[in-house]
Symmetry: C2
Subunit: 147 residues, 2 copies
DNA sequence: TCCTTTACTTGAATCATTCAAGTTTGCTGC
DNA sequence: GCAGCAAACTTGAATGATTCAAGTAAAGGA
């Protein structure tokens, strides 16, 4: 299905701004709101930043976009939704990279004890240095991850 | 070792404010900065909010506190550091609950492909509803976690 | 006890994000 | 194809957690 169809299916109206958002986010790499706004304006002319925020929220609620919010850095968005993947985030430059779950359908992501919580999602973020930033700082070989 | 000793070991000066922060965070349950500030003032009288922010950062850098930053909610702190535990966060009330890693020393937290990243930490947050909020909203039985 | 460095105070600034009110536009029904 | 309504968009302002800056106070080694 195309973006317009997906929008309708989510009960959202099809507008130039929203199609441009889908294209921009889909063509980019975990873009932040500012970058999305720039991309949208390049495609369809002036669109207000607030419209971008509003649409991003609507698209996320509708399941067309996934929101990524690494601690201490602005929100980013991606079009890869509904699957089982996590993110590597660079501490130095903020770059975000997709990484598949180590165990397929995330059995280890169900907490041993859920303490009575009704769990509906598990967010996993790996923190580290991306290859370019590693080269810059001359970091040693990888250690293992600790939780 | 007591808090004063831990502070010195981290190369930090021992002050009434910092000891009060350690006590407050240790005695509380994943408190946010405002709550920590209140607790500190109760213990040692007026301390500026900025001093609390500054000390929390210093204590975190020194490894005496762990910072928890669930997406979309203010930063929280805890004294349980250096072990392998994750967090359950309630979508409704924001409550944070500790949960041990399902697999001991987090083998599944090493990404399949680290894409060349030098990974040093993995953050895992489970999102859901805590028991009281579940009761309020009359939610059904738990689903399994998806990543 | 002195001196240097670190911690703290007060006050202002930042920045992502949200709220509010009014206007425009997509789209359903006629 | 047109009317009407709700959703989307615009402009402008507000919010709130966090940080920055400059000056004062106090910890702790010499």
């Amino acid at each position: 299905m195309d973006d317009a169809g997906r929008l309708r299916q989510a009960g959202l109206r099809v507008t130039a701004a929203r199609l441009a958002i889908m294209q921009t986010v889909g063509g980019g790499d975990h873009l932040d709101v500012e970058a999305i706004h720039r991309g949208v304006c390049e495609r369809v002319g002036q669109v207000s930043l607030q419209a971008v925020y509003d649409s991003l929220n609507a698209l996320q609620r509708g399941g067309l976009l996934r929101r990524i919010e690494p601690a201490g850095s602005p929100t980013r968005y991606e079009t890869r939704v509904g699957d089982n993947h996590h993110h590597l985030v660079c501490r130095s430059c903020g770059r975000v990279t997709d990484v598949d779950c180590a165990v397929g359908h995330a059995p280890c992501l169900e907490p041993v004890s859920d303490s009575g919580y009704l769990v509906d999602e598990a967010d996993v973020i790996y923190w580290g240095l991306c290859p370019p930033c590693r080269a810059e700082t001359g970091s040693a070989q990888p250690e293992s991850a600790r939780a």
